[in-house]
Symmetry: C2
Subunit: 515 residues, 2 copies
């Protein structure tokens, strides 16, 4: 066999990309450490290390050598099935190369340094409710975002350039259309629920629950879902997240509140959903740009599926409530499944996004999307943000945070320069139901299995149709392949109305079907 | 001012070295993570990441650009006082450059990969007492060591080339001379102590002590010594160590044994001693090759000083025993200072080096030195090591381990390819006393302050005479500058005879003086 076969050309590209993937994994571990264990004064050194790694990764990826091996491999592209790993590698590497070459290396390195400092400032300023100290860093992050949009280019709105980093191909216009439809159904639905009034007394969930018990139960369930602890682990961080360094090391974090055990427990379910996605990527894609989730929307669909469609379902708790009662016998004595199910599904406007119920959750996202657009357009500045945040909270949720800690400073994202990221959370909610419905259509046994504490069929379907592909297919194509239909919010809306209509006795729209 | 001033030339060198130091810090963090938190199946990916980083660091450091900026700066060397940071940077960078350029990049990268795998195999094999699985990795490590010695070159013995990595300028012949003198005094001394028999019943230290209390007390003392937790932290690992990523992030680990609380507590004192050294390096040396300890012997002198000269002294416990009794009131009820002091200074041959008393400790090192020489000479192979280990234990300590877990597999060093490292531990013991004596001569108040729980004068002297210099001076020069005398084992031997002669009622040699 000659050195010039198509497979050799792709293999050469793959070998060229391996050390870049290694450096990216190293940078990701440094970022993970910064959120979990790094001592506070390490931030400056860490910023230097991350800037150096970002510079090297960028230099190597936009190098003439990448161009040359990529073009050589593309010359052989005709030999590969479009669904093959090889075709996927060419498709995604080309996309990334064309995009990333538009950014100057020094911009990338300087931004990496500034992000590391900024998140550290946020980490220390938030508990002190100190927006003033954080503000200049936030301003810098907005400035980096605007410059990035200019470098990347866009036809309609600078937001499109940023959103494309997280959800390739999606635009602000798409988000607006989606959000308008969601708002149309959600806003009156939330109002009807509020008028109906409480249907359960959830005070039993506000007693003292020790952290060790929360952790043990959460991890037991995550392992039952399929999260592999030989390739993962759970730590603590101020803002929960999942982070992977190849499919054999994918970690999650959570935070604990002794007076609100379900926050950590659902948080673990959520992050385990993210982690199982990356653990499920085909080993053949390891050490390439394909070895992670295809978009943040699809990523979030996995976390929300395990957190909500599985973890907040009645059938799940019919199996797991007795187990949770073994961990917390005093606190949960005499609580039945129906009461518990209603208690973990209370719909009520809350200050904190990550603790919001499924119905009001998207309103938190809409607020952030509005503010991000305004920041990029310059109609709101970083200095205006606390007031703008509170006004939007009043508008969307009818409540106003008492301070910036639980208001504009609650999320880590902006501190790290992640602007254009938030809409993918709502998109994840929508995709989660569309995928779950497809999995159940293919395997009608799934809901019954969840009631028996069995999750293998669902995970198997996700592995086959979503996880193993990594970034090989764009989200749009992945969803069509997996579900037989284009992305649509209708099954998600039907799910919300069915589930919460039943809980709140509001009557279920005929079209929603049963679940 | 022209671009060509001497300061500009050195500054250019420094700027060139910064990203290399950043990459080295990243690699050190990846290694720290591997020992502390990495999930087991992450080892293969980690090995790739460490190999890629090792390759990049080596390529950059031995590059034509390094040569050029180094030579340009050396051309300006006449402008600098030999004691200046600038002269130190030139001296050490030249030494490192000449040495490291002798190693092929691929050798360095492959070794980094093999080391990461090998330590992981050791980590899993040791608890299972599974030498057979570990053996081929150990063989590979010995092979890397022999090849490294050949690449580096040596006049007398291949060991010299390796020892020079850890203790620049020292040779196997120097070690032999030192060890012969130590053996001459120690062996009859250990025999006399054994004949004297026990002077204390230490059973009270074998009760159940919870880990949280051990950790709290250990960290409280470490902070009182001067270990700064805004720039450090304590974690757990199978083998305790200290690891720095710049002087603002220097971490330590320990391991806990509920039936032997002093193991973790003295372990924390020890590692805090290492960490304070690196925290004390001048900030002006940050992100250069000078920003760590000058040699492992001097490093170990710091850990052993805080562990033994301070932490195992009677005056220390006269202050801290009541505090430890507050943490463990049941277990330590009625124990007086004299009893406690004797109990933590029992001289008795033990299997585990890191838990050995001060008198027998060096015998563990001599054993390892003998075996390392034999491995390099080829008179002992990796397969022979368990038996050779046990024979040496019988020879030096009169006891034989029941298994390889507590025998040949007890230390992490060989699994990571660190051959030539062990003698620096004994050297550290020797240097610790020479430095401590000099500190006390300059500040006679130090022993009294230790009895009052005050350590600032001692730490201040170490900061001034040892820590701040980093690698600026070679160990030999540093010791002469700090103590006014060349390195000698005599004050160390006098210390041992004085302290343990008093404890065991053996009579103190007249020349030993008082402490």
């Amino acid at each position: 066999m000659s050195e010039q076969t198509p497979l050799h050309a792709v293999e050469r590209l793959r070998q060229h990309l391996h050390p870049i993937a290694d450096l990216a994994a190293a940078a990701a571990l440094l970022a993970w450490d910064q959120e979990t264990y790094m001592p506070p004064d390490g931030a400056e050194g860490r910023a230097n290390q991350l800037a150096t790694l970002a510079r090297l990764i960028h230099q190597r990826f936009v190098s003439a050598e990448t161009k040359q091996v990529l073009e050589a491999a593309e010359g052989a592209a005709g030999a590969f099935d479009p669904d093959s790993d090889e075709a996927g590698l060419l498709r995604i590497t080309r996309r990334d190369f064309d995009k990333i070459t538009k950014l100057p290396t020094e911009f990338v390195a300087e931004r990496a340094r500034a992000r590391a400092i900024s998140t550290q400032v946020w980490r220390e300023a938030r508990p002190k409710n100190d927006f003033v100290t954080f503000r200049p860093h936030l301003e810098a992050m907005v400035d980096f975002a605007r410059r990035e949009a200019e470098y990347l280019g866009y036809t309609d709105h600078p937001y499109d350039a940023l959103l494309d980093n997280y959800e390739p191909g999606m635009t602000a216009k798409d988000v607006r259309t989606l959000f308008a439809r969601l708002r149309e159904v959600t806003v009156p639905f939330v109002r009807a629920i509020a008028q109906r009034g409480p249907v359960v007394d959830a005070a039993f969930l506000s007693q003292d629950y020790d952290e060790a018990g929360q952790e043990r139960f959460g991890l037991d369930v995550a392992q039952a879902f399929g999260y592999d602890l030989r390739r993962g682990r759970l730590d603590r961080s101020p803002h929960p997240f999942a982070s992977g360094f190849g499919q054999k090391d994918v970690r999650i974090t959570t935070r604990y509140n002794r007076q609100d055990p379900m926050s950590a427990i659902f948080g673990i379910f959520h992050e385990a959903g993210h982690a199982m996605y990356e653990q499920g990527v085909s080993p053949a894609l390891e050490r390439t740009p394909l070895s992670r989730g295809t978009s943040l929307g699809v990523h979030e669909s996995q976390s929300r599926m395990w957190e909500n469609l599985v973890g907040r379902s009645r059938s799940f708790w019919s199996h797991y409530l007795p187990r949770l009662q073994q961990v917390f016998p005093q606190q949960l004595r005499g609580i039945d499944v129906q009461t518990f199910y209603r208690a973990v599904n209370i719909v009520r406007p809350e200050l904190i996004r990550v603790e919001a119920d499924e119905v009001t959750y998207n309103l938190h996202i809409m607020l952030r999307f509005d503010l991000e657009l305004a920041l990029l357009e310059g109609t709101v500045t970083a200095a205006d943000l606390p007031a703008a945040w509170n006004a939007k909270m009043q508008e969307y949720l009818g409540i106003v945070p008492p301070d910036d800690r639980d208001g504009v400073m609650q999320d880590i994202h902006w501190s790290g320069g992640s602007i254009g990221y938030f809409p993918t959370y709502t998109l994840g909610n929508v995709i989660s139901v569309q995928l779950f419905d497809a999995a159940v259509r293919a395997n009608p046994s799934i809901p019954g299995e969840i009631g028996g504490g069995e999750f293998g069929t669902l995970l198997g379907w996700l592995r086959e149709h979503v996880h193993r592909h990594g970034r090989k297919f764009f989200a749009k194509d992945l969803i069509t392949r997996a579900t037989g239909a284009e992305l649509s919010p209708e099954s998600y809306l039907a799910y919300l109305q069915q589930k919460f209509g039943e809980i709140y006795g509001l009557g279920v729209p005929a079209a929603a079907g049963t679940r």
